[in-house]
Amino acid sequence: MTFRTNLFAGAVALATSAIMATTSFADTVKVGFIGSLSSDTGLSTLRGAEIAIEELNAAGGVLGGKTIELVSADTGEDPTEGIKAYEYLAESEEVDFIISGSIDDVSLGWLPRMVEYQIPTLDTWTSYIGIIDNLVTDYDNYKPYFMNIASDEALATLYIDFGKDVLVDQMGWKSVVILQEDTAFGGAIHGLVAEALAPVAGIEVVDTIVYDVATVDFAPIFSNAQASGADFIYLISSVNSQVVSSQYVKLQVPMGMTGVNVAALGQEYWEDTGGAGGGISTLSPVPSVGFALDPVSQAFVDTYQAKYTSRPKFPHFNGFNAYHGLKQAFAAAEEAGGFNNTSWVDAMLGQDLVLKKDGEMWLRYAFWKPGEIEERTQRTYPHNARFDITAPYDDGAPSMVVIQWNEDGSAGVVYPDKFKTQDFGIPSWVKK
């Protein structure tokens, strides 16, 4: 073959592949993922979305046989990067739908961009009630936004019940010393404990010890906590929580400890603490580590664990939210004929996935409708996950559960009673 023939053949091949690429582009629906690609949190949402997309594509595609393509935009958990990431998905990739595994301030950062572009967006991790308040006050602008985790207000309401029912009534604890990490998260949760949980449950906050996230030796901090004379420690830790947890165990601190411990939400917690994580309890959105799963959620976990070998080995709650939420978003798109604003929003509001276990409602993926009032708090939660904060939890999933790790490396749910798999307890070295 001459050089000219080769050149001609190459040009034909290039043109053909370009036409094929254009054709396949037209047959594609683009989903954007926004979140951190290097955190367990972000990866849980991303992987949940990936599995849902694979299943939808394998079932013949969506919207008349189109293939779903996933595009990722990393936020690095930075609010400014979050804005850039949203702009990239909206204007460079021109995605049809966005699924988010962003943390609070990152979501708040890109939210004005969502208002501008009006791209249907589902948040699976952030639970900030302020975002739902935006829908209450300015529904038309914020209506493409959905949050399928219970908002923090609902989470706090049930958590206060735990304080009354378990910490005060069952354990007889009346005073607390708070160990708070010096972060934005620490400050926010401290407010919840000191201003809501403690006063309502009748617990006295005797001291708050703020520690730096780089702390490696917690012995003096635990000594101060003991010296405070409080009945128990309330730990607030999101960064390197495994360090403070393992030292609590190794030092055999003679006081009970509960709280919010982000490391304990993941299956890797036991490994990360070197097997020294027993007795630690934390609140967690559902489904969590130790939470008994319904058959559908269990099948998702099985697929997840067969597909991914790197951490997080077990999806965090937002992985489940992404998996079910993405499928609901496409079911709504099928009804609405695409992700066009108003009709898709109405169709999404109509989605209702009830997951049963042993014949009773276990989890529910549905949304509060605009104007619909939640009985206990007497307020509206438009486009928020339809949670239930009143026993017997037969209208929705609980807004949260409390889980506890045992000294043998197992974990179970200790509150509320319906989902309980074990009793709340104190470690073996703490005297009753």
């Binding site: 990722s72 609010p79 400014t80 804005i83 990239y88 301030d105 934005a184 400050g187």
Partner: protein, 324 residues
Amino acid sequence: MISKPLLRSLIIWAIFIIGMLLLPKIFALLGFSKGNLRTLIQACYLAIFAMSWDFISGRTGYISFGHPFLVGIGAYTTAILSYRFDVPVMYSIPIAVIVTMIGGTLFFLPALRIKGSYFALVTLAFMELMYQLVQVIRPDLTGGTRGISGIETLTRGAVNGYYLAVSLMLVIAFVLWAILKTRIGTALSAIAMNEESVKGSGLSTTKLKLFAFMVSACVAGIGGAFLAHYNGSIAPRALFDINFLFTIIVAALIGGSSTIIGPMIGAFFLTLLLEKLRPWLPGAERYFVYGGIALLLYMYQPKGLYAIFWQVVDRFRTRRGGQS
């Protein structure tokens, strides 16, 4: 009568300004997505902050590690006024700039007594202090740890946002260039070389430094306030953050410190580099490449991309001269 070098500079400025203003049209003709304009908008704001930093640190030699403190004051002041108190943006932004300049005087006080690494550390403390304060003091106003979302935006769409950002950047750049062309600019540069000699020549270095700090704070305040109204949100982690500080400094250094065009080149180069890497390296790997390229460039030519550009031009001229 305008001198020849000045006339040449003005012509270059005119070409640069026209080129920047025509960019959206050129992008549209080439079929580029609007996402490219969004990237350029972020680059414009970074360029403003880098120019502001360079006006203090590049000119007078007082290395500031707390510049986000000034940017943050501007952003938070206008955000609080407009979002919490419904003050119209046409008032909230000028007030924010004035408040930032007052913040600039606080910034200036340590410069009366200390220099070098001590000054850098004190300014870093300003930033850290502000990071803590906005979370603790009146979170009902500042939005606490989560910041404020839903701040009034001045423009909608990439094209309008670009014209606003690029106009701001160009006006600021031109004004700073004009200041530096005066004797004050020469005196400021002399401070970086030998402050004692400047004092010895009868000039008040205190007044000169105060002037530099005020101008720098004014620019930071303008940039911060307009950025808040472009993004529509602010958060303490986005503004009073060490990464933000390094981005500003790296942009100024990579582009070419002690120049006006240098920080702009650096800001555009780094912002575009990071965003263009995104489709191929969506995760944190982008930052390794970004850091690697920045390091190599800095090692090759510490005076930055601006100096590299002139090296290339000089080589080209020499070669052409040799040929003729």
